[in-house]
């Protein structure tokens, strides 16, 4: 069963465009949604949540069309945005009391467990919270109403390495039973290298690649060689950097010829992102 099925989203803005965005997330898995700033991650996430009007395309969540079943589905979705601004002069406790009324499956026990785990004091005002604490607070809210699908926009940015590690632990805890699915966008790709099952990569409003993480990484190679070798393979490279020691460049695995003698390594997710972003620069 698909937790999330996104088909052919199109949305045109004066200076930016989502073009034919499609990808699927199977139930019970974690998908990382990566892309540079401004690539279209948040726009895509907002379309998933029916928060903007699409020019065309459909979003199905747990088998139902969000445009037709929004209120019902939002009980099943937990979402958190990295930079959400609550009414800042209220205490957390007061805000939670308002928010929880919207959810039929709200569970106080789970909520207080997360507050303890995140070391949040509900008598604090929002204005007194640090960035990381705000992220943790919105996560505690998102996790406390029995959501089956979590959609999180940059949940780990703003958190220190210890808190990020703890959060990834929570993510893996949540998917153990195979009932909950998680989509989270990030540009801290090392987080994904550990726990994500699937990676969807968006660049300039288009999905470049959406697949299992290992297949995603295996479909690229990072080449390292001399300048004369660069000329042999220049045409095949997605993009490259040159310095006085030679070049490094990203290539699709199918375009790489091992007998060329050019050394190749497995790229990291970050390197894949960087070379794709560089490609934009080279041709614009």
């Amino acid at each position: 069963m698909l937790a999330l099925d996104i088909r052919h989203l199109n949305k045109k803005y004066p200076t930016f465009e989502l073009r034919d965005v499609s990808f699927q997330l199977e139930k019970g898995y974690i998908m990382g949604f990566i892309g540079a700033n401004g690539a279209g991650k948040t726009t895509t996430i907002k379309s998933i949540l029916n928060m903007l009007h699409l020019d065309s395309g459909e979003v199905h969540i747990l088998g139902k069309n969000i445009a037709e079943h929004e209120i019902e589905l939002k009980q099943e979705i937990g979402y958190a945005f990295g930079d959400i601004d609550f009414y800042t002069r209220s205490k957390m406790k007061k805000l939670t009391d308002v928010i929880k009324k919207f959810y039929t499956n709200w569970d106080d026990e789970i909520y207080y467990n997360y507050l303890r785990r995140f070391k949040l004091d509900e008598n604090k005002k929002i204005v007194e919270l640090s960035t990381g604490m705000k992220v943790k607070y919105s996560l505690a809210l998102a996790l406390s109403h029995g959501a089956k699908l979590l959609i999180l926009d940059e949940p780990t940015s703003g958190l220190d390495p210890v808190a990020r590690d703890d959060l990834l632990d929570i993510f893996q805890d949540l998917v153990v039973d195979g009932e909950i699915s998680i989509l989270f966008s990030t540009h801290i790709t090392s987080d994904l290298e550990k726990c994500a099952d699937f990676i969807t990569f968006i660049e300039n409003g288009q999905i470049i690649h959406s697949s299992e993480k290992d297949d995603f990484i295996a479909s690229y190679r990072l080449l390292n060689g001399s300048e004369s070798q660069l000329n042999q393979v220049k045409e095949q490279l997605i993009s490259y950097k040159v310095n006085s020691f030679g070049f490094t460049g990203l290539v699709r695995s199918q375009d790489y010829d091992p007998s060329s003698g050019i050394s190749a390594t497995m790229p990291s997710l970050e390197e894949i992102m960087i070379y794709f972003a560089k490609k934009e620069d080279m041709y614009v």
Partner: protein
């Protein structure tokens, strides 16, 4: 069962899992009937993705090293020692076919490869 994952290694993580577990089975360290942890539990504890563990388990099953019993989990297969030898040979051969294609790409003859192999063994 002992597993040490290296994130810095060039080897995909599922491959590392597969190699380490298969070696432990073929050396008899994990006995027939030993129950492997459930996939999702193992993924959480090892801090790797679910699909990574799934792939490793599937590969172990394909090689006849473990059996899946629906609803109960995965268990190390029971086999005779000659069967164990056969599986070990199969696995090594598979790896060798890969390696040999690499040697061939340099145009090495089998004699040259054997000489190099002897050197590599004594390193």
């Amino acid at each position: 069962m002992n597993i040490a994952i290296s994130n810095a290694s060039e080897k995909p993580i599922y491959q590392q899992l597969f190699e380490q577990i298969s070696a432990q089975i073929l050396k008899g360290e994990l006995e027939g009937g030993y129950s492997l942890p459930p996939i999702r539990q193992a993924a959480k504890e090892l801090r790797v993705s679910i699909i990574t563990v799934k792939k490793a388990w599937e590969e172990l099953e394909r090689c006849g090293l473990i059996n899946t019993i629906t609803g109960k989990g995965c268990f190390v297969a029971e086999f005779l020692s000659e069967e164990m030898g056969r599986i070990r040979e199969e696995m090594v051969l598979k790896q060798m076919v890969n390696d040999v294609s690499y040697y061939k790409s340099f145009g090495l003859t089998i004699e040259e490869v054997i000489e190099l192999l002897k050197k590599a063994y004594t390193v």
